[in-house]
Structure formats: C-alpha cells, structure tokens
C-alpha cells in the first residue's frame, strides 16, 4: 500500500481549460480504484487492523501535518484532542459504563463530541500561539501530559484508570459499522474527506494566508492579516480532524482509556507525521501505514531475526532517527530527492525538478 501511495504526490497543477473531472491526475484514479476494491482482496484482519487503523492514525496525524506543514506549529497535543473526542463520544453516547455514559443518540453525541474537541483544541491553540517554534512543542507536550494524568485521576467524568469500554458505533442503516468491511469504508471515507479538505484549504485564501504567516508573520501582520487569529483557527481545524480520528479510534478498539492519549501516543503521532513528511497531506497517511504495518508485524520480524519482540520501540525510534537525520521531509522528501536525481542531466549536472 505504502508503495502505491507516493504516486499521489505528483499532484499536477489543475488544468487550465479542462473540466474538473479530466483534471484529476491519473494517480488519483488508480489509488482510488485500488482502495475501493481492496475489501474484495484483503482479509478481514488486514482491512480492520492495518487499513482501518492506518486511516485513523493518518487522519489524526493529518491535523499535525496541517499545523506543522502549513502553519509552522508542531503540536504534540493532537492525540489529546483525539482522546477528548473519543471520551466525549463515550460519555454522551452509549458505553458499558452506564453510571457515567448518558447514552444519547449518535446524532446528538457525535456533534457535541466534535464541538467539545474543537473547543479544547482552540483553547490549546490559544495557549500555545503565545509561544513560537520549539516552545510550542514543549508546551503542547506538557498539555498532553496534563490531559493524560487528569483523565487517569478523574473518576467522576473520565472514569479514571480503566476508562470506558463497550463504546460501539451506531447501527446506522442496519449496518454493523464495526464489521471489517463497513469499518474500512467508514475510515476510508473520513480519511479521504480529511485529505481533500486539507488539500482544498491549502489552496484557499485561508490556507495561503496561513502559509504566509508561517513564512513571515511580521510581514503578514503588516499586510493587515490577524496572525494570531489565523494560527488559532488552524488549531481549531486540526482539532476537528483529530476529533473525527479520535471517535473512529474509540469505535475501532471499542474502548478509550488514558493510555490511548498518553505521552508515548502523542509522540507516535509526531513520528507518523514526520516519517511520512510534513509537506503534503498524503505524508501522514504514508507514515501511518508504515507505522501500522511495523507495529503489527515488527514483532514477528524481530523474533525471526533472533531478537526479542519487545524491541519494537527501538526499531521505530531508529527508523525515525534515520529519516530525520537524512531526510527532514520524511519519505516524501526522499521521493523528491530520488526524482530530482533521476531527472538530472548527467552532462551539465543541471535539471531535476526545476522546470
């Protein structure tokens, strides 16, 4: 899967005079058709665990990519916002913890969960935009740690250490959305929706202004743009993505507990986004699939090589280090480098991707 995805990075600039259907690059058609017919080929386990999980992680990391890539703000609180969304759906919707869960129908619970996640994300954004660059990472790391400890200690609302279990998606249209194929399409839909929304926003006035703020905040504020408002709004949008991802994640494992949004999970989201690449919205999904595949199969692979399966974190950490060291733009950066060197004219040593 991950081998196919990078083809999407060749996003051609939209055609000038063609209709919008024709202007969709061929890679999108190929990937789209493959993704749609995958359930016919892949096993339930792969659909649910690798694709479903990969899409969800990708969606959460997409928010980080949006903040980091277009806004220049690397936030580690994405996973906490996702956790907030998941918790809220467990609290307002049905779950096995009936003393706390209100059991409201999905069309009330989900919007409330998303709105609360967005408010939470906006507050985090409002706090962290007071700082810049590396400070943002530290403050969001501290916030996500506080969220983790708070949910672990609070029994009245968050049910403490054990969290909520039995959080199931609604049986809408008579479909069991937790069965592997429906869940696959559900996550695929939201991942695609998130992907195209981010792509659209990146070219819309708001996205362009945000990229301007990233490159030169002083000039943008001199031009009359409200720098802080743009940044906070970016946090709000990223929180929406994380909230959707968090709800799906809760449904996938049917439970949510403080560990879901722990510190290591927060760092994992950063790892995913950076491994994939922060320059294009496809990056987080590539990273998420690599992560999901590694997480599920690395154990067996490590045992096969003769190491203990517990060294999974070592593998992930080393891979992350190597990528950050040699290609700060992640896998996407490697891909661009490869293309540049392929197109280079060996005689003049010029060319590459510069048109």
């Amino acid at each position: 899967m991950a081998v196919v995805d990078p083809t999407e990075t060749r996003v051609a600039t939209p055609g000038e005079s063609r209709s919008w259907l024709e202007s969709i690059p061929a890679a999108y058609w190929i990937v789209g058709v493959i993704l749609l017919i995958t359930p016919a080929i892949a096993s339930d386990f792969i659909l649910f665990q690798i694709f479903g999980w990969g899409f969800i992680l990708g969606l959460i990391a997409l928010g980080l990519m949006f903040l980091g890539g277009y806004g220049g703000m690397v936030s580690l609180a994405q996973m906490s916002i996702a956790g907030m969304g998941g918790y809220m759906v467990a609290i307002f919707g049905p779950s096995a913890i009936e003393t706390i869960s209100l059991g409201w129908p999905w069309y009330v619970a989900i919007p409330i969960a998303l709105i609360i996640a967005m408010i939470f994300g906006t507050l985090i954004g409002w706090l962290s935009v007071r700082t810049e660059g590396i400070y943002t990472i530290m403050i969001t790391l501290a916030i996500s740690a506080a969220f983790f400890y708070f949910t672990r200690q609070n029994y009245v609302i968050f049910n403490g250490f054990s969290g909520f279990n039995g959080v199931l998606p609604p049986q809408l249209f008579g479909v069991d959305w937790r069965a592997s194929t429906p869940f696959y399409y559900l996550t695929l839909f939201w991942a695609a929706a998130g992907y195209f929304t981010v792509l659209y926003i990146s070219r819309a006035p708001f996205g362009l202004a945000l990229q301007g703020v990233r490159d030169n905040p002083r000039r943008m504020s001199a031009l009359g743009f409200n720098v802080t408002a743009h940044r906070v709004a970016a946090y709000t949008f990223a929180a929406l993505l994380a909230g959707i991802g968090g709800i799906l994640l809760t449904w996938q494992s049917a439970q949510i507990s403080p560990g879901t949004a722990g510190i290591s999970a927060a760092i994992d989201v950063l790892v995913i986004a950076v491994i994939g690449g922060l320059r294009h919205p496809i990056g987080p999904f590539i990273g998420a699939f690599i992560y999901a595949i590694l997480e599920i199969f690395a154990k067996d692979a490590l045992v096969a090589v003769g190491l203990s399966g517990d060294r999974f974190q070592l593998l992930i950490g080393l891979g992350f280090l190597i990528i950050v060291f040699w290609s700060p733009d992640g896998i996407l950066g490697l891909w661009d480098k490869l293309r540049a060197s392929r197109n280079r004219d060996p005689l003049t040593d010029r060319g590459g991707d510069a048109p």
């Binding site: 990472i137 506080a146 029994y155 060294r311 080393l318």
Partner: protein, 335 residues
C-alpha cells in the same frame, strides 16, 4: 530588590504577607482551629519539606536543561533519558563498589561524555535548525529508553544511601505540643536534607561560576549574542561543548539523587523531562534563578497538591504553567 518593591508595591505587599504567614505557620505551635481547618502541623511541615527537597531535585535536572537551552537555543528532549541513565549508572557503581559517593562522579562523567558525543555528532551538525534538533532528540530518547529497558528491565531500583546518612534527623521545628507540655519536634530523613543542601550549593556554585568567572562571562556573552562572541575570537564551539557536557552531567547526578530519593525505573525519564519542561517554562527559559524559582514552585505545588487535593496534584502544576503562560509568556524570570 528595592527596585522591584518600588515598581510593584502591591505585589511586594502580597509577597511579604504570604511570607509572614508561612513563617508563622512553620514556627508557631498551631492553635486548635487551624488544626481542625487543614489538619495536623506535621503533615503540613512534611509536605513543605518534601516539596522543597523535591524542588532541589527538579532544580538539578532543570538547570542543566535551561543552561543548554539558554546558550545554544537547542531543546534537548533527550534530557530525561540522560537523567535516567545517570540513575542506572549510579545504581550499578554504588552496588559494585559499595560507595554511595562514588556514584555521583561516575554518573557525572559517563553522562557528561554522552553529552559531548551528542553535541559533537548531533547538535553541531544541525545548528540553528530548531525543529530538526527537537525531532532528533525525541528519536534519541525513544531509542535510549528502549535500550535501557533492554539492559535493566522494567524493575524498580533503589540506590541505598550509606548508613551515616540514613535515618531521621531531629529538626528544631515544633510539630505539636503534648498534653504534658513537652514539645514534639519534627523528624526528617537526613539524606534528603543533605541532598537539598548539596543542590543549593550547586546552584550557588553555578551562579558564582556564571557571574564571577571568565568562563561564566564567555557563557553569558554567548547567551546574549553568540555570533558576535565568535567574531571576536572566542572559541565558541569549545564553550558549547563544555556547557553541554556540564548540563548533561548534572542530569546524570540528578539521576543518582532521584534514585536515592525515590527509585530508578522506566518512565521516570518522561516524568522528569516533563517536570523540567514545566519548570523552565514557569521560571523562564535560559535563566538559572528562574529554574530555581520554578523548581521550588513546582515541587511545592506537587507535594502540597498530593497532600491537600490528592486527585488533582498534577493538574495544579499544570494550572501554574497555564497561569504563567497567560500572564507572563516569557516565564517569571525570563527576559
């Protein structure tokens, strides 16, 4: 000091009143209504002492972090791993030789050497690229944490203090009055007091080094404008190397202290990384007095929180951070 009082008379008054109340609470024998209101004085004094000594430990960890940040502008998120590694090394050395005091230089040297390697092979290669440095140190901390888990397993280790330091020490503070009229004095673990005094000594030493010596002058000049400093011929890379080694070594020493106070175990690295993050955010990035103030505040908040509002102790620290960020984003002592 007088300058501060002249500019912020109300704040000064509040600080003076709070200090006076605190001093009275520490030295006086508590009347009955106060005991009924917030519990026995012994609990209060213990929380106070634990908070102050924990603050000393936090200061040891955070001062290295803030020194490195102040001079080189790089955020070393592997600082918690250095702390934990120091704890493990201290444990091994103390177990092997039987001398607790040997653990400190051993941890300082080994972790400091690791800091030199980090500076040489990681930070110097990507000077000025904040985000990349941060990401690389996150990667390093993941790898080092797993290597340590591999080497030492998930067990808790305790570094035992020598016999001349163990046991309680009688202090001059009165906790209660017996019915017979005798005064009951507070007993407090000797090792904690000694370690706290050592932390204070290290803090004063660092302050003297920074403000009274030539090397300190170089470092302070580097904090203000390192390009200019290197332009006038100071060997800035050497200063960087020295500061990084010292900061990392301090984290290692703090690991030994933490292993004696509490225990050495996986997960302590993130805990202390977070603590030092919060401390330097509250105190102000790159300021040693700020780190001391922040460490004291956070240590006290954590201990008083865990005594008087057990469930939300962690949230209290967080609230302090949010409050500081909202009203003074550069930190209490930041510039």
């Amino acid at each position: 000091m007088t300058d501060f009082a002249r500019r912020h008379p109300i704040w000064t008054a509040i600080i003076v009143i709070v200090a006076a109340v605190l001093i009275w609470m520490i030295f006086a024998v508590w009347p009955k209504w106060l005991v009924e209101l917030i519990g026995r004085k012994k609990v209060f004094l213990n929380a106070l002492f634990n908070g102050i000594t924990l603050g000393g430990l936090y200061f040891l960890v955070a001062s290295g972090f803030t020194l490195i940040f102040g001079l080189m502008r790089n955020v070393n998120l592997a600082h918690g791993s250095l702390y934990l590694l120091g704890g493990y090394i201290g444990y091994e050395v103390a177990e092997a030789t039987g001398y607790w005091l040997l653990a400190f230089p051993a941890a300082f040297i080994v972790v400091g050497a690791l800091g030199i390697l980090l500076q040489l092979f990681v930070f110097r290669k990507m000077e000025g690229e904040d985000l990349r440095q941060t990401l690389v140190t996150i990667g390093i901390s993941i790898v080092v944490a797993d290597l340590m888990l591999w080497g030492w397993g998930g067990d808790f280790y305790n570094i035992n203090a020598p016999s001349w330091l163990s046991g309680p020490m009688e202090t001059i503070l009165v906790t209660a009055q017996k019915r017979s009229g005798d005064l009951v004095y507070l007993k407090y673990p000797m090792v904690r007091i000694v370690i706290f005094l050592a932390a204070v000594a290290i803090g004063i030493g660092m302050w003297l080094l920074l403000n009274r010596t030539r090397v300190g002058m170089l470092i302070r000049a580097g904090v203000d404008d390192r390009d200019m400093l290197s332009a006038i011929g100071a060997r800035i890379q050497l200063v960087f190397l020295g500061v990084f080694a010292f900061g990392a070594g301090l984290a290692g020493v703090a690991g030994v202290v933490g292993g004696t106070f509490q225990s050495v175990a996986p997960g302590e690295d993130t805990r202390f990384l977070l603590a030092s993050l919060v401390v330097v955010i509250v105190g102000g990035m790159g300021s040693i007095p700020g780190a001391a103030l922040g460490a004291l505040l956070i240590g006290l908040a954590e201990q008083f929180g865990s005594v008087y509002m057990p469930t939300y102790a962690v949230v209290l620290t967080f609230l302090i951070m949010v409050g500081v960020l909202a009203f003074r984003p550069q930190g209490l002592m930041g510039r």
